[in-house]
């Protein structure tokens, strides 16, 4: 590895790589990436670009409640691009802030799953023996159950352990824990499989011969070589984690109404579907769809482009 290269030539090299070439030649990937990027930017910059802070009671006016999209309110004359909900909160702003929570939970949960799965997968693959038996047995048992059910169960247990007065504050972290713990198995399985192949290769034997410690061999030598499939699974996991978060929040076992994620917003919007205020439901739902679908398509492309032995 040459580390002396300037960032300029690194960029140029990245532009010329096979991955970048395949990216430019796949319109679906480009469009998906743009959508994901715009949504992430919107979520990150929400405090600055949102017209109103939906969680600041001072900025709300109950008279603005149920204003249809892009039409002036009958009482105040104010207009909102995507209308307002029952409390006069601007739907566009709540979506931006809701996306922040959805994306934060999604990224954190996948991060947790990767740390846990990769560590256990490396240990199982490299050490073998009873360590491997225990880890893979637990993985098998967990895999018997759909991950969304495991997440619900972990959410319930973690909620039971939290004292009642902290439950709303902790809900986001409990969600991350629940989704992360329900999703580590795939990473562990793939990393274990790849580690089993790598550990018999000459470079690992050489490292062992010169007396490097097992931890160093696992982290410095094997890990970089098993990361490709991890990256692909991580992308698809991210879409699944965002959907899982939305599902849990929609079912009322996720983000609380005081800190609504996209799922909570859809849950709230569903109540007004019967009375004709369609915009409270439609816009959060479309945002969630766009987010999940684009990340999914991006993951599909990445899998084909990197072409690891996944399928």
């Amino acid at each position: 590895m040459t580390t002396q290269k300037t960032s300029q030539s690194r960029l140029a090299r990245a532009w010329d790589s096979d991955l970048a070439y395949s990216f430019r030649k796949t319109p679906v990937a480009v469009v998906s990436a743009v959508i994901v990027l715009v949504l992430i930017l919107g979520a990150v910059l929400a405090p600055w670009i949102a017209p109103l802070n939906p969680f600041d009671p001072a900025s709300l006016n109950l008279m603005n409640g149920f204003t249809p999209p892009s039409t002036p309110n009958a009482f105040t004359g104010e207009t909102f691009v995507m209308g307002t909900d029952d409390q006069g909160r601007d739907v566009f702003s709540t979506i931006l802030f809701g996306m922040r929570i959805s994306l934060f939970v999604g990224f954190s949960a996948v991060f947790l799953a990767i740390i846990l799965g990769v560590t256990l997968g490396l240990l199982a693959g490299y050490l073998g023996g009873w360590v491997e038996t225990i880890i893979m047995r637990v993985a098998d048992i967990q895999l018997t159950f759909p991950s969304i059910m495991v997440a619900m169960l972990i959410f319930g247990i973690a909620k039971g352990v939290t004292p009642p007065e902290y439950r709303d504050q902790m809900a986001i972290w409990v969600l991350i824990l629940a989704i992360g713990l329900s999703d580590w198995v795939q990473f562990a399985r793939v990393v274990r499989g790849a580690t089993l192949v790598e550990k018999n290769k000459e470079y690992v034997q050489a490292a062992r011969l010169i007396g490097r410690s097992p931890v160093a061999i696992m982290l410095r030598h094997i890990l970089p070589n098993v990361l490709n499939p991890v990256l692909v699974i991580a992308t698809i996991s991210l879409a699944l984690a965002i959907i899982a978060e939305a599902t849990l929040s929609f079912l009322g076992v996720g983000a609380p109404p005081t800190k609504p994620s996209l799922g909570t917003l859809i849950r709230i919007g569903q109540e007004y579907m019967f009375s004709g205020e369609w915009w409270i439901l439609l816009f959060p739902a479309v945002t969630l769809l766009a987010l999940a679908l684009s990340i999914n398509l991006l993951g599909d492309w990445l899998r084909d482009a990197l072409n690891p032995r996944l399928r």
Partner: protein
Amino acid sequence: MLAYILRRVFQSLIVLLAVGLVAFAMFNFVGDPVDNMLGQERTQADIERLRQQLGLDQPFLVQYWKFLEQAAQGNFGLSYRQGRPVADILAERLPATLELALVSGILALIGGVVLGIFTAIRRSGVAANVIMTVSLVGVSLPTFLIGVVLIYVFSVELGWLPSFGRGEVVDLGWWSTGFLTVSGLKALILPAIMLGLYQMTLIMRLVRTEMLEVLRMDYIRFARARGIREKSINFKHALKNTLVPVITITGLQLGSIIAFAIITETVFQWPGVGLLFINAVQFVDIPVMAAYLMMISVMFVAINLIVDMLYFAIDPRLRLDRKGGGH
């Protein structure tokens, strides 16, 4: 064969023991059961007495064994929220979930097989391509949104079908059924579609792949050469050989239908065990959560076991492999 079955049964027991350990830990570590059962005015003596009564002063393994004994008899204590025996509540809710799961399972199987055959035979047709694309998008949609869309179209806009509940049910003693009334059948349609749609796309894609593979085989080519009609080839010769994997996958999916029923039941306020579980999670009703977990795992393990044996019985190649492999 016998050794294989015994080994699988043994593995299933281990899974159940592990899940039992989780359920047992929930009872003992999530909230203090003594705390939950005694009121505000309690003395230290009350606490000690109840601890002895519940056997909480005994060693861990003894307690675990007692818990398993009780669980095997279907005794999970009282629901914290409703104050009634959990077993009774589950028994009363189970028919609703099983009827829903059954109908959506059948829907998924029939729809999946028919669409799978169609997309395989008309591989390059416009309709087949549209179906494939729609199914690809459908798989990445969150299922609860599909339910919301169904409610919006058929309940809110068209007003044809109810958006919640089970309609009128007929009580058959130990079983309450919605199959016998018009309102019960109408209430079943939307939830069954929502629950079955995802499994249907899975089965459809599987049938299509298997069918395309089989259609390339020599015996199909010879059948064509013999001048057998195309219809007869497709349905008599090809379809038969695609059904083995389809049966096993469908069997395995039965478990996830029951699990995903949690989402469907919540969207449609369907009074089954899934809705019960979600409410238990919301209110941290540990006995109900633990009992549901045990019930579902017994179902899952039983389904997996049966499917494995079916596979073994249907596909002779597996038996040969085992003998040749010398395990």
